[in-house]
């Protein structure tokens, strides 16, 4: 396997002791706030699991579903949570491929965010299913129906999960070696021994020689190329589950692009939030500055503008056609029963983030963080607007006058405490899992930062 990316031979590796001690401290010693945070977040997750067990006993009806609303919150959560995992692929892979030196302190956080949000998104398959006890049929070949978009969703997402794990793991190998070196210097105890075993497994026989390092960088480069089309395929195939039907509002050729752009948009926003949180918690202010936030902010609103444009074209064309199904559905979203969530997205997820980045005094670390909160929240709402109205609007009588039976903000779908608890639990699981990951893994990619620093100083440039 030859290296796809021409990687320059690493220049002499300079160990940045200040960086290493700052980054490794939270890995080697338990921070004081760690256990309380884990317990609080864990309790929220447990509540979600209890809600799911309740749903298991009482059926999906307890989650607000009915024959007039066959899809709802779980399906949009599936899309939204898998969507936010895209930040990892973008920040890490795209910036790596374009040799953006400033990415170095962000890649680990971005990849870890992807690593935790993707499985959380996938978990939503389970409450979504009416009969989760039979989920094994999806991995059992005799049951496969290869013409089903859902089966391909499953293939695409699980392959992408594998790629995300490897993409998180590969840059971690030299860092694990660094941690292992530190541990070897500590007094032996059970805790140290357990950790030594863990890092030995992670490191394998990697020794850190220039040849191995070149090989590692080549592998990461190849994976960075691979993971971009894989990420695109995941949300495209996810959109097929909706778009490959004759239902007005779902049968949209724009959907694959629309879903991918939305995922990138909300993904970058979540990376901003993770970076802000990790920077504060682990005191990494000297490595992550407002420069990083503003650059991420620009990347984010580039996707945001594209998403606004796609929303406009979709609604314009469906509405303009004046065909009974699509036009009526567009009317319901813009001016009918779903107008509140749609305009919330439009203002909070479309206009405000662009304005924040456009007005110079607002273009600060706080400004970008606020914009990211708005984006993550409103893109979740926008997914509800994508999923729920087409599933709840009647289609047999859509062309006739007697279709006014549907009422309520979300049509025939009702939000009950069950899906809300599960959604809150899934949201709490993101920081929970990130805290667990960063308890074992340095929050910054130490070796990568040292390499980038060495490279840029070699070239006389600024990191």
């Amino acid at each position: 396997m030859t290296d796809v990316i021409a990687t320059p031979a690493p220049v002499e590796h300079r160990v940045d002791h200040e960086l290493r001690s700052a980054v490794l401290r939270p890995v080697l010693e338990t921070p004081r706030w760690w256990w309380p945070s884990i317990l609080v977040l864990g309790a929220v997750v447990v509540l979600g699991i209890i809600a799911w067990i309740f749903q298991l006993a009482h059926g999906l009806g307890s989650a607000g579903y009915n024959n007039g609303a066959f899809w709802g919150i779980y399906e949009s959560n599936l899309v939204a949570f898998i969507g936010v995992s895209y930040g990892g692929a973008v920040v890490s892979a795209i910036l790596r491929l374009t040799h953006q030196g400033w990415r170095a302190p962000l890649t680990r956080i971005a990849e870890a965010t992807a690593l935790v949000t993707l499985p959380i998104g996938m978990i939503f398959i389970i409450p979504h299913l009416g009969n989760p006890g039979k989920i094994w049929e999806l991995i059992w070949l005799p049951y496969w129906n290869l013409s089903s978009p859902i089966l391909w969703d499953f293939f695409a997402v699980s392959t992408y999960l594998m790629a995300t794990i490897v993409f998180f793991y590969l840059p971690l190998v030299p860092d694990a070696q660094v941690v292992l070196t530190q541990l070897d210097a500590e007094a032996p105890s059970t805790r140290v021994r357990v950790r030594q075993t863990l890092y030995r497994v992670l490191v394998g026989r990697f020794g850190g020689t220039p040849t191995e390092r070149r090989r590692l960088n080549g592998s990461i480069g190849l994976l960075a190329i691979m993971i971009i089309p894989m990420a695109v395929s995941v949300h495209s195939v996810l959109s097929f589950a909706f778009a490959s039907s004759s239902r007005p509002g779902y049968m949209e050729t724009i959907f694959p692009v629309y879903f991918v752009v939305a995922a990138l948009y909300s993904g970058v926003a979540l990376v901003v939030l993770s970076v802000a949180a990790v920077r504060k918690l682990y005191h990494l202010e000297s490595y992550i500055s407002s420069r990083h936030f503003v650059r991420l902010g620009f990347l984010m609103i580039a996707f945001g503008a594209a998403y606004l444009y796609l929303t406009f074209t979709e609604y314009l064309i469906d509405g303009y056609s004046n065909t009974a199904g699509p036009a009526a559905w567009v009317y319901q979203i813009i001016a009918g029963r779903y107008w509140v969530p749609f305009w919330f997205y439009f203002v909070a997820g479309g206009l405000v983030p662009i304005l924040i980045m456009a007005i110079k005094p607002l273009r600060t670390m706080t400004g970008v963080t606020v914009a990211s909160v708005l984006v993550v929240l409103s893109l979740w709402v926008k997914r509800l607007v994508i999923v729920i109205p087409p599933a709840t609007e009647p289609i047999v009588r859509a062309a006739t006058k007697g279709s006014g039976a549907v009422s309520g903000l979300w049509g025939t779908f009702h939000f009950t405490w069950v899906p809300i608890s599960i959604t809150v639990a899934a949201t709490a699981a993101i920081p929970l899992l990130l805290l667990i990951v960063f308890r074992f893994v340095p929050a910054l990619s130490v070796t990568e930062m040292e390499e980038v620093a060495a490279e840029s100083s070699h070239q006389g440039g600024r990191p």
Binding site: H58, G59, L60, G61, S62, Y65, N66, N67, F70, W71, H128, L129, G130, N131, P132, K134, I135, E137, L138, Y143, W144, N145, S147, S148, P149, I150, L151, F154, A241, F242, S244, S245, S246, R247, Y250, A391, P394, I395, V396, R397, T400, K401, G402
Partner: protein
């Protein structure tokens, strides 16, 4: 699916000889396996007891279909009730649903909607685990022992004809038929159910419950291969000429599903009764 097609083709092939000579035609029929082997005339009176109609050695002999004469429908929903009673369904599981439609003059008219038993069903290919299937007799059924409850078939169906078991199903006493896709009683929580044309009852010559209980004789149930259909009032039609004479049509033809439920449009008009005059 392809097996079915080839069987149909071979059955048709045996009937193609165009010779007028009787004997050769008979031989061809016998060779093709569709002849009964009973040659010659049968004279004398025969008791008109129902007997199993001809069965051939290969291929399905029935292609079930439904003809719904909207002219006769008064929207009483006896069909819905009969269906829900027979299959022990919840009130919202209207496998046979009577919609109130509006015509161009603004008048409302009732329209019963069973499963269309499409020849090219949209619900079958989308299921990830292949829980939906189409029988050689043209019935689209759900194997609830396979169904994992993704509900993507409910998304695919253009007729809203699929219903989920959102909670515990209605309890049912011991049934005359084993629980199967042909008789999914009681329903299974967390799976999809739909109109089955009372599949388990058909082999004995019974017609679906909705047709049996329709007091207006709206719902004809029939077999496309014998071109006959019968309603609950014992009225029998020759499907092809009935559809031709009364402007038979299918619902949402533009969706490409090729439904096997044919509608006679109208509301309250007279029947074209003398459709045989031309033949």
């Amino acid at each position: 699916m392809s097996e079915t097609t080839s069987e149909m083709a071979s059955a048709a092939g045996t009937t193609t000889p165009v010779t007028i000579q009787r004997r050769s035609v008979l031989r061809a029929a016998a060779l093709g396996g569709i002849g009964l082997g009973v040659l010659g005339a049968v004279g004398g009176t025969v008791a008109l007891a129902a007997e199993p109609s001809s069965t051939t050695s290969s291929g399905p002999t029935k292609q079930w279909c439904m003809v719904i004469d909207l002219r006769m429908c008064n929207g009483c929903q006896l069909c819905t009730v009969a269906c829900q009673t027979a299959h022990f369904l919840h009130e919202d599981q209207t496998w046979m649903k009577v919609y109130t439609m509006t015509n161009a003059a603004g008048e409302e008219y009732p329209m019963p909607r069973p499963c269309m038993q499409c020849e090219d069903p949209a619900c079958v290919p989308v299921c990830p685990v292949g829980a939906n299937f189409r029988t050689p007799e043209g019935l689209v059924l759900v194997d609830q022992s396979k169904c994992i409850g993704t509900r993507i078939c409910m998304n695919a169906c253009p007729y809203e004809a699929r219903y989920f078991n959102w909670g515990a199903p209605e309890p049912a006493p011991k049934q005359p038929f084993a629980q199967s896709p042909e008789w999914p009683v009681p329903q299974v929580q967390g799976t999809v159910g739909k109109c089955i044309d009372c599949a388990a009852m058909l082999p004995t010559g019974q017609i679906p419950e909705c047709a049996t209980h329709c007091a207006m004789g709206v719902i004809y149930f029939g077999d496309l291969t014998s071109d006959t259909a019968v309603n609950g009032q014992g009225q029998t039609i020759k499907i092809s000429s009935f559809l031709a004479d009364n402007n038979g049509m299918v619902f949402k033809e533009e969706y490409g599903t090729h439904p096997r439920v044919y509608y006679i449009p109208g509301h309250g008009q007279d029947l074209v009764s003398d459709h045989d005059a031309a033949s």
